[in-house]
Symmetry: C2
Subunit: 150 residues, 2 copies
DNA sequence: GTAGAACCTGGAGCGCGCTCCAGGTCAAGC
DNA sequence: GCTTGACCTGGAGCGCGCTCCAGGTTCTAC
């Protein structure tokens, strides 16, 4: 124990593990969120130390990171639960998982399109305000106020 | 009153108005949400009939539709409140409003970029599952199960 | 052995953006 | 006058995704 990193006894056939604090730091999730995700079934029950403290393995971290990608595409907890349950059920659910991801991907594409449409309205409004400001400066306050609609 | 549309007496210098039901239908918002937006100050107090019922004008509808664009870009109610308050304060706030929209636009661009990054991880996973399924079919069930990581 | 930090559990609480409800008013048709 | 339905108000409630809390255990350093 010379480095600052607390480690398990490491019985040599077991890979090194991470504490909840380390996983929190690596993923950006809070301790509470990590425990919540486990309770919610998003991640399978994580291994424990002899004293019942969580010890995450590399696979747990990888899965968490994928969950974060799903969350980052706007997938709901409920859908992630469904996906996690399929995953836990083994390889026979690969087709189902593929279908879920494809559907989600399509929705995401649509959401991105909608965002871009709305963004362009935003751009128009920005242009409009810019022109208003320019005109205001050109005319150098003649008639302050009272032409408000936008 | 020959058509099914209930109208105000229409004193001729007043434009035609819309009931809350008509606005709900046009905007896709519920009656409750319309009232909530008004209570929250997102829209200024809408005109009323003699019987205290809301009568929306074209300008109200236009503003609502712009709000919906803002909402559609992920702007929070709190920010929309700020924006609406600036608007209500008149033309002197145009520069502030421009600044708000620009900042929001920048955040939106970043959010869209993040979505696309996450989407590409999703695409990779989809490819991965597709390949898994293909291999499975090629090999025609030899060793069902037990190579699960993804 | 002991202090203090890190961790555990179950459950309550919160901020957001609505949504619903109770109890009432108003307008139109019969 | 009566019924029906659209509308009104204030306020409670809800689903989501966490976040916080109390009370207890465990781990690490000294």
């Amino acid at each position: 124990m010379t480095s600052g990193q607390p480690r398990e006894p490491l019985p040599r056939d077991r890979e090194p593990t991470l504490t909840i604090a380390q996983v929190a730091e690596r993923t950006g999730l809070s301790h509470d969120t990590l425990r919540y995700y486990e309770k919610a079934g998003l991640i399978e029950r994580v291994g424990r130390s002899t004293g019942n403290q969580r010890r995450y393995q590399a696979a747990d971290l990888a899965w968490l990171e994928f969950l974060l990608r799903l969350r980052g595409t706007g997938m709901s907890i409920a859908d992630m639960q469904r996906f996690a349950a399929l995953r836990a059920a083994g390889n026979v659910t690969v087709a189902d998982r593929l279908a879920m991801l494809r559907e989600h991907r399509a929705e995401l594409a649509e959401r991105i399109r909608a965002l871009r449409r709305n963004a362009s309205v935003l751009d128009d409004k920005i242009d409009h305000y810019q022109r208003l400001l320019l005109d205001e400066h050109e005319i150098e306050h003649e008639q302050p106020g009272s032409d408000e609609t936008t």
